[in-house]
């Protein structure tokens, strides 16, 4: 199981196993709970010097502080590095917390993107309407929270353009995404308006395959991979932080790059 090559040729099956491994133990009350999780410190002192719950609450506070630090460091104009086509990772890995054959199968014919929250026009969008939006392309590096990275080619509409068309109140703090399988994600408005943040309909100039998030993913090259939702079915502009699948489990909320 340990035959892993990071790049090139990331093995999809192994990545699925990785994702499964990332899940916290169901039996664990908090993600730091238990002497074993305190590892080195426990071993060094021979006793459990840190109360799991208190450590967890302090670490969450520091993580919130880090959200602020990252937001301050975030530049609205600084672009993620782009690469030539020859640099694209082949095959580009499938990555999720479930198996590839368990990935959502969205029917494009009946698909509608729901729009909600602080917007002027809450009309749903069909795939044909979305495909008619102006298209831009990017070849950027997808960086996973696990550490591996892969370069991919994505085509779609700048998300800021879509926000303009739905009359979004861009003074709102967040944009929340809901996905077909129940995955959720919240991002900050400055990132939503970043020029490279994209509503993605194609990978390598072909309609997004199921593995990569058909019919639509949100490609954000300034954030870690798990902040790039796939199979997106609803967008909400909001002032309430609704959290997200991994963020609620302990990953840093901002997760900027």
């Amino acid at each position: 199981m340990r035959q892993r090559r990071i790049i090139p040729g990331v093995d999809a099956n192994l990545l699925i196993k990785d994702a499964a491994k990332l899940m916290p133990d169901a039996s664990r009350r908090g993600f730091l709970r238990g002497a074993a999780s305190l590892g080195a410190l426990t071993l060094l002192t021979g006793c459990d010097i840190i109360d799991g719950d208190r450590a967890e609450s302090v670490l969450r506070k520091v993580s919130e502080f880090n959200d602020g630090a990252q937001a301050a460091l975030f530049s609205r104009t600084k672009l993620a590095p782009t690469y030539p086509e020859s640099a694209i990772t082949k095959p580009f890995p499938f990555n999720a917390y479930y198996d590839e054959d368990e990935a959502p199968e969205v029917d494009g014919k009946i698909y509608k993107l729901e729009v909600a929250g602080l917007v002027e026009n809450k009309k749903s969008w069909t795939l044909d309407e979305l495909y008619a939006l102006p298209e831009v392309s990017q070849i950027t590096r997808h960086i996973c929270v696990e550490g591996w990275s892969a370069i991919g080619s994505w085509q779609g509409t700048p998300f800021s353009e879509f926000l303009k068309r739905i009359g979004a109140d861009t003074r709102a703090k967040y944009v929340w995404f809901k996905c077909a399988e129940g995955y959720t994600n919240t991002i900050d408005m400055p990132t939503a308006l970043h020029p490279q943040t994209q509503m993605t309909f194609k990978f390598a100039n072909r309609i997004l395959p199921r593995a990569y998030g058909f019919p639509m993913k949100i490609r954000i090259p300034t954030k870690l991979g798990f902040k790039n939702p796939k199979y997106v079915v609803a967008v909400e502009v909001t002032n309430t932080d609704k959290g997200g699948y991994w963020e609620d489990k302990g990953y840093n909320w901002f997760s900027g790059l």
């Binding site: 990785d18 990332l22 916290p24 090259p221």
Partner: protein
């Protein structure tokens, strides 16, 4: 051991001024957290065909380890800036660590390996010590900078490029960690062999 056996070299009578001792122990604790959590993070996507045993990692799983890593990061960086600034400003680095002459290093290394290297005067570093202490400071700086370049490969992409890009920076970060861990093994072993050096770092003399 009596006080008479310890030479009085520093002006204020102590071998290590208070700021050195405070920085040393803050760093010791923070660096253990960084290494333990860093090993857990490594395990999520290993660069080589091995993983660190879970028992010696910190955080329980990836998210927990990342929280520890990015919390202790502030302690390591702020403490490190204070230490390096005072080390330069007070002239301690220049006085204690320089010069490092290759000839001296080879001679002292030979003496050390044949157990003939004098260790009596704790206030004076031999050439091997100078090389190791200066080396670990440089490794620490590379460790921090490569870590920042992995953390912020877009906002600080110029720094990341300096390390040869994102993927290369991960290897640099790993090897800088390995250098620091290698130093720690020697450092702790010698502190155990020469207990008065440990006392000097706690009590100052």
């Amino acid at each position: 051991m009596t006080a008479e056996t310890i030479p009085m070299a520093a002006v204020d009578g102590s071998i290590h001024p208070r700021w050195v001792r405070v920085c040393h122990w803050i760093n010791a604790l923070a660096i253990l957290v960084m290494i333990g959590s860093g090993w857990q993070i490594y395990n999520a996507s290993p660069l080589f065909d091995f993983e660190f045993p879970k028992q010696i990692t910190l955080g329980g799983w990836l998210a927990g380890a990342l929280l520890w890593h990015f919390a202790a990061m502030w302690v390591v960086v702020i403490n490190g800036i204070v230490y390096v600034t005072l080390g330069i400003a007070t002239g301690r680095f220049r006085r204690k660590l320089l010069p490092i002459r290759p000839g001296d290093v080879i001679a002292d290394m030979k003496a050390a390996l044949s157990f003939k290297l004098a260790h009596d005067d704790l206030s004076h570093y031999n050439a091997v010590q100078r090389l190791l202490y200066a080396g670990v400071i440089i490794a620490g700086i590379i460790l921090v900078l490569s870590g920042i370049s992995i953390w912020k490969p877009v906002q600080l992409q110029e720094l990341t490029a300096l390390f040869g890009g994102y993927d290369a920076a991960r290897y640099v970060h790993f090897f800088a960690m390995a250098a620091v861990v290698g130093f720690l093994i020697v450092h702790v072993a010698l502190a155990v062999i020469v207990p008065k050096s440990l006392r000097a770092m706690i009590a100052g003399r």
